[in-house]
């Protein structure tokens, strides 16, 4: 047994907090949660769950049964006193329903990217706090010029085809800047402060201007073209309170402004607030030990200064500047996957003035 745990209930208690996964494309979020629950149940059931299963060589007594004094190391495994407490009688101790998992800001099944999940009592609480914090999310949208479909994705029913030879990178960037500028007024409206006030100035200088409420209409903080190889292009979008269909539609709208058509061929979430891709667990890692490690490593993100950014009164600096160390060179991605900090993001707003 290679596990570092020797007693399943202790390990179960450690499953209490926030962890983040990389949801692969094509897998619905609820299926991912089910898969995690199944993995956890089977991993825990593989550990000693009942007292007679505890290896006799264990060094320290079990922490949670202080009252148990008769259990000695010399106890014979054969002389089982209580037959009713046996794995073959009671069955596996952990079932999938024992793991309450909630997620915040899910995504459509075709999208991929980072997903923040909470497990256990603390996890449920922190998930609410994270949701209220209204973190900025960073997406990479892959688009392809040439046709339009009924649901704006590449897999939908084709409605129309056009040519796209006239599109250049500079034209695309202009339209992106226009889209971004269109949202800057919305930003002030949803934040609930007067754009000419001192408060608005301080808010803008300390970070991004977040909406006041959790559920508002979508806000795009930055739209940039980071890759352009006709007919394919990739946009990096910073947003709050967006939804999957909106991102697909964004590609379509941008293309219409360019007098052509396009579909969204991929949505990937790179960052969810402080949760970056390097913290995320890929599907092969959705197991007990990795999840426990991930919960521990994510505890530094659950501090008040990071969780309370959504409150308007907070003047904390949003995201500490961090090095661009997270480079994941992909097969087709010639560009680095940049995870911009919010400060850089804000600096993009300077481009809006020309439109």
């Amino acid at each position: 047994m290679g596990s570092r745990f020797s007693w399943a209930p202790t390990a179960y208690k450690m499953l209490d907090g926030i962890f983040c996964i990389f949801k692969p494309p094509g897998l619905p979020v609820f299926r991912a949660v089910e898969s995690i629950q199944r993995n956890l149940a089977s991993d825990l059931n593989a550990l000693p769950c009942y007292e007679y299963e505890i290896p006799l060589t264990r060094s320290q007594p079990i922490a949670e049964n202080e009252t148990e004094t008769s259990l000695s190391i010399e106890a014979e495994p054969v002389s089982l006193q209580n037959w009713s407490e046996h794995r073959l009688v009671l069955g596996p101790r952990f079932e999938t329903s024992d793991f309450r998992i909630r997620f915040v800001d899910g995504m459509s099944s075709s999208a991929s990217g980072i997903l923040v999940l909470g497990i256990g009592r603390h996890g449920q609480r922190f998930i609410d706090l994270i949701a209220q914090a209204k973190y900025l999310r960073v997406y990479h949208l892959k688009g392809r010029f040439g046709w339009a479909t009924d649901n704006f994705t590449a897999k939908g029913r084709v409605l129309e085809r056009t040519s796209y030879k006239h599109v250049t990178r500079s034209k695309l960037e202009k339209v992106c800047a226009a889209v971004q500028a269109a949202y800057s007024k919305q930003m002030h409206v949803l934040s609930g402060v007067d754009p000419d006030s001192q408060e608005a100035y301080e808010m803008a200088s300390s970070g991004i201007i977040r909406p006041a409420k959790r559920h508002t209409s979508p806000l795009l903080y930055g739209v940039r073209c980071i890759d352009f190889q006709l007919p394919d292009f990739t946009l990096e979008v910073h947003s709050i309170n967006e939804q999957g269909p909106l991102l697909n539609r964004l590609i379509h709208d941008i293309a219409v402004k360019l007098k052509t058509l396009a579909v969204c061929s991929g949505v990937r979430r790179l960052r969810y607030g402080h949760f970056t891709l390097d913290r995320a667990l890929v599907r092969q890692q959705w197991h007990l030990e990795q999840i426990v490690d991930n919960i521990e490593s994510n505890e530094d993100l659950l501090t008040p200064d990071k969780l309370l950014v959504g409150a308007r009164a907070e003047k904390v600096k949003l995201l500490p500047p961090r090095g661009k160390g997270v480079l994941l060179p992909g097969p087709g991605d010639a560009q680095p996957d940049s995870c911009d900090t919010a400060d850089e993001n804000v600096s993009n707003f300077g481009q809006n003035s020309d439109r």
Binding site: P24, S84, V89, D98, G330
Partner: protein, 461 residues
């Protein structure tokens, strides 16, 4: 263990008080670590149930409260002691039960115990713990006697409806005096009987998973009533004669407990049929171990199924035996489904009859996989990865893998310029190396990189 909560107050037991009482019981259950398998035996209260117990999970037992305005309310919560109560020894939980009763009283003592007694405005909580094995501890009785007015009243169980006579019987007598069939009227699983029944203990020693077996209808009654030497031993001897190794007996009986209801002579006939069809005894034993359900098929059914396989796929005698031994689960599998999958493999995937026969001999499981997954996996292998049919025949097991797992590995190989599936060229990656093995082995042997690079790549998809 039975918890009896009696409300002497008659009319003045308001809803709020019941809720408080409920919370107390919840806390106690949490303190006791009541396991989820500790099922509620009954929440029986006469004439307008006031409080019904229902334990949902093992750490946070939740109770359902049924409120009724009926003046009579002798609430009663009773739980079957299902598993020796979690991880606490009987001595320990007796103390806990005592604590509980004290707590219930001390809550009222803010107003003064004397006043409570005078007005009879008391929630008299009497906790009577009956273990199936032991009796009530002396310490608990004395602890309760300090607080309760009438000890007889406390320990007696008050049920006024006549329809529940049986439960009165059960609870007014110590559980140790009850016979097993009497107890079986009330139990919801086999757990309470294991400590009393030698048969069940021996089955557990054999490795039979009672938690699975009890889900089979009628099986738990059969096991509780049967005597190990008389009723079960002949079947174990039979399985041992067939050649099932001792450590697999439990598995066979867990998967197919219906063996115990079969006639011994008929079972021997079935084995005799297989031996007659030139299966060796080792092969028969292996088949029984891997597909115990097979023993429920009559010789005629077995003959039909073997004949069906032989005719549909054009197999010779030894080939039929090879398939049956290699994957015996195909014997109880439905003929229609096999035929349907065969039709799909032929019509949609484009394998010829000879190729299908080869697939069946190499990987019979393909004809039992779900059709949709089979088609999508083939689609990815053949149309995206451009692997021809003859190459798929070298390792048909690849068809049983999920398309998503295939996709990540194939895209990673593509990114590394190693996606080369033609055996005639250099840097050939075989299908077997592609789909099988852990990620560590795949990265180290095939891609020649660290597994972390693979995981980082997945995050870019």
């Amino acid at each position: 263990m039975v918890i009896v909560i009696r409300n002497l107050m008659q009319t003045q037991c308001c809803f709020l008080k019941r809720v408080k009482l409920l919370l107390e019981v919840q806390m106690m259950c949490r303190a006791l670590h009541v396991h989820r398998k500790c099922l509620p035996l009954s929440g029986s209260a006469p004439m307008g149930t006031s409080l019904q117990g229902h334990i949902a999970t093992k750490y946070t037992p939740s109770m359902r409260l049924h409120s009724s305005r009926s003046p009579d309310s002798s609430c009663r919560l009773s739980f079957r002691q299902a598993n020796g109560l979690g991880h606490i020894e009987p001595q320990c939980w007796r103390v806990q039960v005592k604590d509980f009763s004290i707590r219930c009283y001390s809550r009222g003592s803010r107003r003064g115990l004397e006043r409570k007694r005078r007005e009879a405005d008391v929630l008299d909580v009497a906790v009577a713990a009956e273990q199936v094995e032991g009796n009530l501890g002396e310490t608990e009785g004395s602890a309760l006697a300090e607080y309760a007015d009438d000890s007889d009243d406390r320990l007696s169980i008050d049920l006024t409806t006549t329809s529940q006579d049986s439960s009165v019987d059960l609870h007014s007598r110590p559980a140790a005096d009850l016979s097993v069939p009497e107890l079986s009227r009330r139990a919801m699983n086999l757990v309470p009987f294991v400590n009393r029944s030698e048969t069940l203990q021996k089955l557990v020693q054999l490795g039979v998973d009672l938690s699975v077996v009890q889900q089979v209808e009628g099986m738990s009654t059969l096991l509780v009533r049967s005597d190990f030497e008389r009723d079960i031993m002949p079947y174990i001897r039979f399985l041992a004669d067939v050649g099932v190794p001792a450590d697999r007996l439990g598995h066979v009986l867990t998967v197919n407990p219906h063996i115990l209801t079969e006639d011994r002579a008929e079972l021997e006939q079935k084995i005799g049929y297989l031996v007659h069809k030139k299966f060796s005894l080792q092969e028969v034993a292996r088949m029984v171990c891997r597909a115990p359900v097979m023993l429920l098929m009559s010789p005629q059914q077995m003959d039909q199924k073997l004949g069906f396989l032989q005719q549909t796929f054009g197999l010779s005698g030894p080939e039929v035996r090879l398939v049956a031994v290699k994957y015996p689960k195909i014997l109880p599998y439905k003929k229609d489904k096999i035929a349907l999958t065969r039709f799909q493999v032929k019509g949609f995937l484009g394998f010829s009859d000879v190729e299908m026969k080869e697939i069946l001999l190499k990987e019979p499981r393909i004809f039992m996989t779900e059709n949709r997954q089979l088609v999508s996996t083939f689609d990815y292998l053949h149309n995206t990865m451009l692997i021809p049919h003859r190459l798929l025949l070298t390792f048909p097991g690849a068809l049983t893998h999920s398309p998503s797992a295939l996709r990540t590995r194939h895209l990673f190989l593509l990114a590394r310029h190693r996606a080369q599936y033609d055996p005639c060229l250099e840097n050939y990656v075989s299908l077997k190396a592609l789909v099988s093995g852990t990620d560590d082995a795949f990265c180290a042997d095939v891609v020649k990189c660290g597994v972390q690079e693979f995981y980082d790549f997945i995050k870019t998809l």
